[in-house]
């Protein structure tokens, strides 16, 4: 799931609009991850929420591994 830094979020809602999985919601003008919904519409992280966030409040970190 995307990681949110609530202190940076200015509540603009661009991430909520761009998210095709509807994982992100605005609560009290801050973005939150709706744990009941899975980020599964995309076969891999689209990272659009991270990309559009003007405040740098969202992170989609990747783990880098070598194939077994």
């Amino acid at each position: 799931m995307p990681e949110i830094d609530r202190s940076k979020c200015d509540g603009c809602g661009l991430c909520v609009e761009v998210c095709s999985c509807k994982v992100l919601v605005l609560v009290d003008n801050k973005v939150e991850v709706n744990e009941k919904v899975e980020c599964r519409l995309c076969t891999r992280w689209c990272t659009m929420c991270e990309m559009v966030c003007p405040a740098g409040a969202i992170q989609c970190p990747f783990e880098i591994v070598t194939e077994e």
Partner: protein, 223 residues
């Protein structure tokens, strides 16, 4: 729907203009709503209007003959697109797609040119917007032509792979961009290229190195 003065005053195009000036200008501004995923402009079409994003995000991009996409920039609220071809009288240089539900304010080429004559502050603002666009483009040209970004991304992946102790290194594309000294847009492109070449596989929250030796070669790291 009425064009909002407060929004115009906060936008780069119209900031610093008085209420009377904006009042006389806003009747030439039209509003356009665009659904998510809809193409606002196609590259190569005659450029008829400048657009300012009121809400939502617009992706400005070019597509190569073989379908590869390069994002030029994202226009967020207050940002504009299609300005360069409107002023030089040419064709739209890039396509634009709504990444969300989008509301735009547009101004037709002829209307904008006429308004420029009577409002020097508008002209100064637009010069600033276009100057910033040139800076953005030069930076992108530098990335695309001089820097071997893919090689540096490959090196970053190799240097940050989870170690034998299971120590996990997690990196965002923004962090990779900062490490590679490039724009975030270039990271997505590089990762996609490495995946197409079979060197990595992108999963939801993992980048799996599938051909380490080939990746080392791209990175210019000794075998």
């Amino acid at each position: 729907m009425a064009v909002k003065l407060a929004f115009l005053q906060s936008s780069a195009y119209f900031s610093g203009l008085g209420s009377d000036e904006l009042d006389s200008i806003r009747k030439y501004i039209f509003e356009k709503e665009v659904a998510r995923g809809e193409i606002v402009l196609f590259e190569g079409e005659p450029a008829k209007a400048v657009y300012i994003v009121v809400s939502g995000v617009v992706k400005v991009f070019k597509t190569s003959a073989d379908g590869k996409e390069q994002i030029i920039y994202l226009a967020r609220p207050g940002g504009s697109f299609n300005d360069v071809p409107v002023f030089d009288g040419g064709l739209s240089l890039a396509s634009a797609e709504a990444m969300t539900q989008v509301v735009l304010y547009g101004m037709k080429k002829g209307d904008l040119e006429t308004r420029l004559q009577g409002h020097p502050k508008l002209a100064t603002n637009i010069i600033q917007v276009l100057s910033q666009r040139v800076e953005q483009m030069i930076s992108l040209v530098e990335d695309l032509s001089f820097r071997r970004v893919t090689g540096r991304v490959a090196k970053i992946l190799l240097e940050n792979v989870a170690d034998a102790n299971g120590q996990r290194h997690r990196l965002t594309q923004q962090e990779m961009a900062a490490m590679a000294g490039t724009a975030r847009e270039m990271i997505g492109r590089s990762l996609k290229l490495l995946e197409e070449e079979g060197k990595v596989r992108l999963e939801r929250n993992r980048i799996v190195i599938t051909d380490k030796e080939a990746l080392r070669e791209v990175a210019g790291v000794g075998m």
